[in-house]
């Protein structure tokens, strides 16, 4: 085969791969609506559930894209969300001040992220291990606070009327859009995003070009911290109480969402900021469709198997242009 044909074939495949996550999202959305209608349930109510579940995952994952672009990953983001929300609730209960609560949530979220990045970059600890340790510490402290202060209720909460005015689609869409646009701009139109992609694609070459990995790692973790803070705040807006299991699965779901959205886990130049948004909502839609179809207790297991198979299929298809002789690591 001629080289021009190979290039053409490669480009065609790449175009298909690039639009595949969007196509999957539209398809899943259509399927979800059809299933809800067929079951005779209220579509508006179910869409609200999907939106509220998806927005937290999408926001936290969008911030996390900056970390994943560097080829690192962070599984402590769920624990960080829980910890920020816990301290936010404690602050509100102590001061009755919503602005202070928001400030504490963001401060704690960014602080946790910065601590992870400092441990990783200053003390040269592998990022993953740092985040494992952070996950253990943050979830343990949050659990301790919640069980001590929550008592028999098993959770701590703020009065629902405090956040009730914010619990509407308009506000949440505005928050999501604002955060996503900031991330989109930083990721695609500033040297921060470009250099992070370079570092993720070829760290040795990037460092030899004078790019300081520690600086961009810290920026990536700060962006992730912003996402975590926003996620924790939106969690409280939707459910104004925190239990030890709040946001517990977010850390792992972020990886699934990002990959589902078509971004390679190795980061680098093929990283896309939209992956988190598209993948996050796709994953939530898929899970809910399966829950609706397999409508029984035991069915949760089956629906998880189907979701995993879909996930693996998406990863296989999106990586089809990047196979090498050796097995990937």
């Amino acid at each position: 085969m001629e080289s021009s044909q190979i290039v053409k074939r490669y480009k065609t495949r790449q175009r298909i791969i690039d639009v595949l996550p969007f196509f999957a999202l539209v398809l899943l959305f259509g399927l979800f609506c059809a299933v809800v209608q067929a079951k005779g349930y209220r579509l508006d109510m179910y869409l609200k559930i999907i939106f509220n579940e998806g927005i937290v995952l999408a926001v936290v994952a969008t911030g996390a894209v900056f970390i994943y672009t560097l080829g690192s990953f962070d599984i402590s983001l769920g624990a960080s969300t829980l910890f920020s929300a816990t301290l936010g609730v404690m602050t509100y209960n102590a001061t009755q001040s919503l602005p202070l609560m928001i400030l504490v949530i963001f401060g704690v979220a960014i602080g946790c992220s910065l601590l992870s990045s400092v441990l990783a970059s200053v003390f040269h600890i592998p990022v993953f291990v740092t985040t494992v340790a952070m996950m253990s510490v943050l979830s343990a402290i949050a659990a301790q606070i919640i069980t001590t202060r929550g008592g028999a209720l098993g959770g701590i909460s703020i009065p629902s009327e405090v956040v009730a005015p914010l619990d509407n689609m308009g506000f949440k869409i505005a928050v999501l859009a604002a955060f996503w646009l900031i991330c989109f701009f930083v990721f695609n139109y500033t040297k921060i995003g470009r250099r992070q992609k370079f570092l993720g694609g070829n760290p040795v070459c990037a460092q030899l070009s004078g790019i300081r990995i520690n600086t961009y790692a810290i920026i990536a973790f700060v962006m992730a911290g912003l996402g975590v803070g926003l996620g924790a705040f939106l969690t409280l807006v939707y459910t104004p109480s925190v239990t030890a299991t709040t946001a517990s699965s977010i850390g792992m779901n972020i990886i699934v969402a990002i990959v589902f959205g078509g971004m390679p886990i190795s980061g680098g130049p093929r990283s896309r900021i939209y992956s988190a948004l598209v993948g996050g909502f796709s994953y939530i839609l898929l899970n809910n469709i399966l829950k609706l179809i397999v409508d029984s207790g035991v069915g949760y297991g089956v629906s998880q198997i189907v979701a995993a198979v879909c996930f693996l299929a998406v990863v296989y298809v999106t990586g089809i242009n990047y196979r090498s002789k050796e097995l990937p690591r």
Partner: protein, 329 residues
Amino acid sequence: MKVSRRIIGTLAIPCMAAAILLILCAIGGKSMIANATSFNYFVQYIAIVMITTMALSVNLGSGRFDFSLGSMAVLSSVLAAKVTKAILNGGTGSAIVMLALGILFGGLLGLASGGLYVTLKIPPIIASLGVTLIYEGITFTVTSGKYVMDEVRNPSMTAFAGSWYYPAILIAAVLALTIYLFDHTRFGYDYRALQSGQKVAVNTGIREIPNVLWCYVICGALMGIVGFLNAARSSNINGGALNFGSIGIMFTAFLPMFIGGYIGRFSNDKLGYFLAAVCMSMLNSTFAAFSNEISASMQSIINAVLLVVFLIYLNNEGLLKKLFKPVKA
């Protein structure tokens, strides 16, 4: 390296850990191992930690991150328990049959996991996420999301759980077998070659795929033993873990893996994992002795802090040596 330095380097951490923990127990007026039952738990915990650490290090050492270890342990033990119950109905020899079946099912699950990775050629971390979801889903479906109790509560299992010598035999057997496999066979030589230079090793004719598949089989079989030991220890198996609920098992193995790797510099890495597991078991027994004073959350925090401190030392060893090196006049 001198033999005396090797011996000192190998035994320094376990001896220091034992001394510190025994002093703490003496100060608090407690006994680390109060009676025969605590000694049984002590040895069982060594076996669980050592084997999990070995399973984690098999693939992680080669840059393959495997989240599915926990799900393999749970599913293999569930399947082994159900088949054993069907064959022997809780009669004589149930424990040994369940152990053998656990190893068999674990090996098969490992083979399936490795097979998926080499067939799809997707990053191992992603493959392991998919496999984790699938195995958790299967476990949930098989057990209806409930605890498996009847199948693991019989006189044979009680006898196994009530003695220290069965886990001790397992420790010796696994240690001998892994040292033989990884240090004295062609498989082990190929494994090391692939570990240190994948591309060069493949180009020199080493067959990567069979080697990787064997690694996954060994890993699965080891987790089969862990699943069995956990079932014997707690007299039940939790079949209800979904959405990455099973990955916690692997996090317990991080600290011993790094400690074991450090000890391995002076002797053998497998021996290092054993000694690191002894340290972890001593720490666990001390936590048990101080259970009224130290909560589960506090234990998680202490473990995480120890991990971070040890890694700070490990990754900045050269710098620390430089700092404390006497300046020549």
